[in-house]
């Protein structure tokens, strides 16, 4: 069966993907073949005229002065967002050009999760208050007032304009059916409604009878400050709501125990603060462990038939968060890696190779059907490398489409995903990816990606199984702060897709935390974590409406 990506390439390039030659190089119309680039040139011209200071001006810099790259001497191909029919340009997939990608990040990091068990215990044991579903409902209504800046205790409190925070609210969830049935539905993330019966049962067991609170802070707030304020903002809103709802004294000795219990003792960090050299704080992609990627993805599973759809969604989420946002934009500060990583959720390429490898795994091992060992790791890596290489050799247009580091990363990622599907082990998947890139693929082609690409991949063989202080850990706990992953653009690249693939193959209800899984099963979030690629595509079309806009406080245009 011909892969869909070949058809897409044929449509977008207008030639057979097997064509080796292109007689139109240098005749495509330069940068103005791109609608977006043309639009940017015009916008920058107006800005420069308006302010008297030059801005973006490729005609001047690259052509007149002859200093820069003549972009557009080759065909600048449009791309299709996988899982959709949306055709766009790469410019539309730059994180700063795509509002959905911004909301993806905002929705993750404006989330504050706390367990209410300990503050409830202090309320009952120290204060002698009764905590019932009714009091909890009152509390939840109160915190929905305080979270957006509503006053409950101090007379002279200045309040935030709620029109700036329509996306801010608080919900709860619990594994106790009895408690859940008595909670106000407006505030409940209903596990039974959001998940199939089997996963719901697992998740309810996972989160236990505890009552968890999920606060969504205003997007406007996280965009105006930084991720570290989420914990603090939630803490004060929560404490004030408790004080009001349970009529506590705002300043006596027990309140300090209570405040600690409510604010800090059972707070769940989405992103922990990294080492000093990373130059970021709490709630930033650098502090997010990649096991959460599987948990945040809410796409309906097609298992036991196929692990591909959920894995593809995980790949998209991981690429946007780690590679496009963190490494590409925050760390490198460039435009290359930032957009390059989008290729992995474009043109149905992952899906095309994924379906082949999933079939191969199904026939040979079954999903999560074999224990991790070097034989299966090598076999999966080899199969993925050979299968992808064959397509690259047969279809020069595909090779052209996957410029620079893309090709090598793609192959290695497919190897990792393949081994993860076979073994149900993210660790085996990660090893397969590193093995594929540094030993199998490199040695066959004597070519890898960019100059430093192999760095962490050679290291990983020794690091992943290790117990030394900088090394080891289940890969679900790895993120860009792990030292060997910290400093190169694709350092985290392979592990996250393998994590998603492994847990999907195992038909797990969650990958690292049942709490995170349920917290993001929230249909009221602005970004749609059930359809990540589709949401990004809407952003590319400029049809995605983000939150956090300042319209209520700025002049109308």
């Amino acid at each position: 069966m011909e892969k869909k990506f070949l058809k897409i390439l044929e449509e977008t390039y207008g030639v057979l993907p097997s064509e080796l030659k292109d007689s139109k190089f240098h005749k495509y119309g330069g940068r103005r073949q791109s609608r977006r680039k043309s639009e940017f040139i015009e916008a920058a011209r107006r800005i420069a005229e308006g302010r008297g200071i030059p801005s973006y001006n490729p005609d001047r810099i690259c052509d007149e002065l002859g200093l820069g790259v003549p972009v557009g001497e080759r065909f600048l191909e449009p791309v299709r967002v996988s899982g959709t029919d949306v055709l766009c340009e790469y410019e539309d997939l730059h994180v700063l050009n795509n509002a959905a990608m911004q909301q993806l990040r905002d929705d993750i990091f404006r989330t504050a999760i706390t367990c209410l068990d300990l503050p409830h215990r202090v309320l009952t044991n120290r204060y002698g208050r009764e905590v019932t579903p009714e009091t909890i409902n009152i509390y939840l209504e109160t915190i929905n007032h305080t979270l957006v800046g509503g006053a409950v205790a101090q007379e002279h409190m200045v309040e935030v304009n709620p029109a700036l925070a329509p996306d801010a609210y608080v919900k709860t969830f619990t594994g106790s059916d009895e408690l859940a049935s008595k909670l106000d539905r407006r505030f409940l993330i209903d596990i039974d409604r959001e998940f199939d019966a089997e996963r719901a049962a697992k998740l309810k067991k996972g989160v236990g009878a505890s009552l968890w609170q999920v606060s969504r802070l205003p997007t406007h707030a996280i965009r105006s400050m930084d991720g570290a304020m989420v914990h603090r903002w939630n803490a004060m809103a929560q404490t004030m709501a408790f004080i009001a709802a349970y009529r506590l004294c705002a300043g006596e000795s027990t309140i300090s125990d209570f405040a600690f219990s409510a604010k800090h003792a059972q707070y769940v960090f989405i992103g922990t603060p990294p080492f000093p050299s990373r130059a970021h704080g709490h709630n930033n992609p650098v502090g997010l462990p990649c096991g959460y990627i599987f948990d945040i993805v809410q796409h309906p599973s097609k298992m036991p038939e196929s692990p591909v759809p959920v894995t593809a969604e995980g790949v998209a989420l991981e690429k946007v968060l780690y590679m496009q946002w963190y490494y590409g934009q925050q760390m490198i500060g460039s435009v290359g890696v930032t957009v390059g990583a989008s290729v992995y959720y474009l043109n149905e390429t992952f899906e095309g190779w994924g379906e082949h490898l999933a079939g191969w795994v199904r026939d040979r091992y079954g999903f999560a059907g074999v224990s991790p060992g070097w034989d299966v790791i090598h076999e999966c890596a080899r199969e993925a490398v050979l299968h992808c290489c064959e397509d690259y050799d047969k279809y020069p247009v595909l090779l052209e489409h996957h410029w620079g580091l893309i090709k090598n990363l793609f192959i290695a990622m497919m190897a990792g995903v393949c081994a993860a599907w076979a073994t149900g082990s993210a660790y085996a998947g990660a090893l397969a990816a590193h093995h594929a890139l540094t030993l199998i693929h490199k040695e066959l082609l004597l070519r890898t990606g960019w100059g430093g690409q192999e760095t962490h991949h050679h290291n990983s063989f020794g690091i992943l199984p290790s117990v030394l202080i900088d090394e080891g850990m289940p890969v679900e706990l790895h993120g860009p702060n792990v030292p060997f992953r910290s400093y190169l653009a694709d350092s985290q690249f392979f592990t996250s897709p393998a994590v998603v693939a492994a847990h999907e193959a195992r038909m797990d209800a969650w990958g690292l935390s049942p709490v995170i899984k349920v917290a993001f099963a929230d249909p009221d979030l602005v970004f749609d974590f059930r359809n990540i690629r589709a949401c990004i595509a809407r952003g590319a079309l400029r049809e995605f409406m983000p939150a956090g806009e300042r319209n209520p406080i700025i002049p109308s245009r």
């Binding site: 064509e19 080796l20 030659k21 292109d22 007689s23 190089f25 240098h26 790259v69 003549p70 972009v71 001497e73 080759r74 070097w374 790791i377 090598h378 080899r382 490398v385 050979l386 290489c389 064959e390 050799d393 047969k394 020069p396 247009v397 090779l399 052209e400 996957h402 410029w403 620079g404 580091l405 090709k407 090598n408 090893l431 093995h435 030993l439 199998i440 490199k442 040695e443 066959l444 082609l445 004597l446 070519r447 890898t448 990606g449 960019w450 100059g451 690409q453 063989f461 020794g462 690091i463 992943l464 199984p465 290790s466 117990v467």
Partner: protein, 257 residues
Amino acid sequence: MVGIPYPGTDEIAERRRKWLDPDFKPKKLREISDDDIVKLLGHRKPGMAYSSVHPPLDEIKEPPDPIKELVEPTDGARHGDRIRYIQFTDSQHFAPLPPWLRFRIYATNREFRGFDSLAYSGRTLLEMRERDIDRVAKTLLETEMFDTARCALRSITVHGYSLRLDEDGLMFDARRRYIYDKERGEVVYVKTQQSVPLEEPVPVGPPLPEEELKKMATVYRFDHVPPTVADELMKVVKRIGELRVLGGLRPDLINGK
């Protein structure tokens, strides 16, 4: 001297072994004048003296260091030359040498003593003292290490290795440093490796025929010598990977294996 061992029974492995012999002398295919090479490199004008980054070694007073005495400096180092670069982009469509083979040749062949290099996806950097670079540039451009269509001199805007070829079979270059002169039947450089226009074009010779390039191939491809024949290589890399993991936990776990 024997060459560096490398596994494989097929023609690709055979050629890789050939290239990894420290004494291997590549076959000369074309002639490019010394002055033209200097022009292409773009570091100085032909006939200009070499500039230096430090005084000649015999004028520098350094504290005694016996092991340093055991190492013979290159000619360029002895003169205190600046360190200069030459950088090639090699097409994935049958360029004679892929980046990592270039890198390994630079590291093993005696001609490249005193080198610095880095292999990327499409390009491979080589840095040496300037008169050493001038010397090896002859080898790099005049021998079977270079095909005028599938390899290119580029220091900036290097991409092109993975793109389709142009109608004349040349590797894409956004900066059009070279063109195919149909009348002369050869490739002509009109810009230096830095993409600075040359006062006079520098012809570098005709592209090698496709069949010839295939005979020189050093990578496995499904449309030529497929990777599926590389059994020995796969056996060896599988073993290296497994032993790296075992030894990564504790070195003695690979003892006797």
